[in-house]
């Protein structure tokens, strides 16, 4: 269970978000609504001005108590919109980076399972530069998964892909949801996508949470 109650001022733009999330929760709203800012605060990449963030009873951030866990101590698997693969490392080194950097023991079975789940075995020795957008995003998912995170953040993982690649990646995201037994925050502005993935919806508009509940919240935006 993730509990978020934060405020952040970025120039004239004000973000004030309060919600709780478990299972697969979609942060749903138009572009520029502040969705990415919210999950960057959850990941520890942006420091909120006020408020608190807690994950399964662990306090990640609490302004009043002066707690601000650095991103590397939060163990949150973040899949970025643009992949952000490390260009100087091979695919194998990329997906193994989180496991290695967080000091977890090598686990060949788990590595093989993730590689097979995402069908990236044939890419392992290549460099990210020459891969397609869909391949990169699968590798980014594998990289976050091998960190063994306590929470997944997926920031519009399909947004940079064309329709064909979107269709290619979606089944992998569904697999990720079903196999990884950790909560997921799925950021998107696409109702159809959210419907495939999420079980709960938090709607954000102009930096504020305007509603939270079930998938029926998507209907008004489609109407």
């Amino acid at each position: 269970m993730l509990a978020v109650d934060v405020e952040k001022k970025l120039g004239v733009f004000q973000v004030a978000a309060r919600f709780q999330a478990d299972g697969v929760t979609a942060l749903f709203g138009p572009s520029g609504a502040g969705k990415t800012t919210v999950i960057n605060m959850v990941a520890g990449l942006i420091k909120p001005d006020r408020g608190s963030i807690a994950l399964d009873g662990t306090i990640l951030f609490d302004a009043a108590r002066g707690i601000d866990l650095r991103p590397n101590r939060r163990r949150i698997g973040y899949v970025f919109q643009e992949g952000r693969l490390f260009p100087h490392l091979s695919v194998r080194q990329n997906i193994d980076y989180g496991r290695w950097a967080s000091g977890q023991p090598r686990n060949a079975d788990e590595f093989a399972r993730v590689v097979d789940m995402l069908d990236i075995r044939q890419l392992l020795d290549r460099r990210p530069r020459l891969l397609s957008g869909g391949e990169r995003q699968r590798i980014a998912i594998g990289r976050a998964l091998l960190l063994r995170p306590r929470l997944f953040l997926l920031d519009e993982p399909l947004a940079s892909l064309d329709a064909a690649h979107k269709a290619e990646i979606l089944p992998y995201l569904v697999r990720l949801r079903d196999e990884a037994d950790v909560p997921m925050i799925y950021v998107s502005h696409d109702a159809a996508e959210v419907r495939r993935i999420a079980t709960k919806v938090v709607r954000i508009d102009a930096g504020r949470v305007v509603a939270s509940g079930g998938l029926d919240l998507l209907k008004e935006s489609e109407a």
């Binding site: 990941a43 520890g44 990449l45 650095r70 991103p71 590397n72 939060r74 163990r75 949150i76 698997g77 973040y78 970025f80 643009e82 952000r84 693969l85 490390f86 260009p87 100087h88 980076y97 989180g98 950097a101 967080s102 000091g103 460099r127 990210p128 530069r129 990289r143 976050a144 960190l147």
Partner: protein, 231 residues
Amino acid sequence: MFDLTPAEWTAVALSLRVSVVATAVALPFGIAIGWLLARKDFWGKALVDGIVYLPLVLPPVVTGYLLLISFGRRAPVGAFLADHFGIVFSFRWTGAALACGIMGFPLMVRPIRLALEAVDRRLEDAAATLGAGRLLVFATITLPLALPGIIAGAVMCFARALGEFGATITFVSNIPGETQTISAAIYTLLQVPDGEGPAGRLVLLAIVLALAALLISEWFARRAGLRFRGE
């Protein structure tokens, strides 16, 4: 073509030793200062920036003189280092390395700073979410991505050190086998009758070394460009 006498070879070997040591010792400082200038805003940054580039615009003789009155055997810093660490600069090859390192420093910092500025910060953020602390992010992401620029900076510093003359001769004089580098040897040869032949050989050698350094630096700069166009 390079039919050098033993004394001339000594000068060449000394030049190479001085330049290698100057570059190797300057490199960690160059990376630290380059990083500070690229990434941090602090009070007096313009001043630090200015001081780093000062040796580029000061007359080398002035730099040499400033070294002499601070790092000489009886000068404040020089006496302290000699008494506490046994490091003596005056009239030693180590002093030549110090002078060369300082003269090459601005040329080293500039490409390093540019390379660090060009590193995509979002990749560092990604590494942090994957569990890497600041030092690990720097060592495994920032440094490798900036490596072509760092190598280019080191090569430029090395080339500058090879050619250094004014600051070195002012600070540690022109002692064969100790502080007489290629440049100083050429200068000495040109002071005597019939010295032009041997000087000419050293001049050719100096041109070859400088050109090689420039080509290597250029090659790394191009590689850096290619790399950042990927991803």
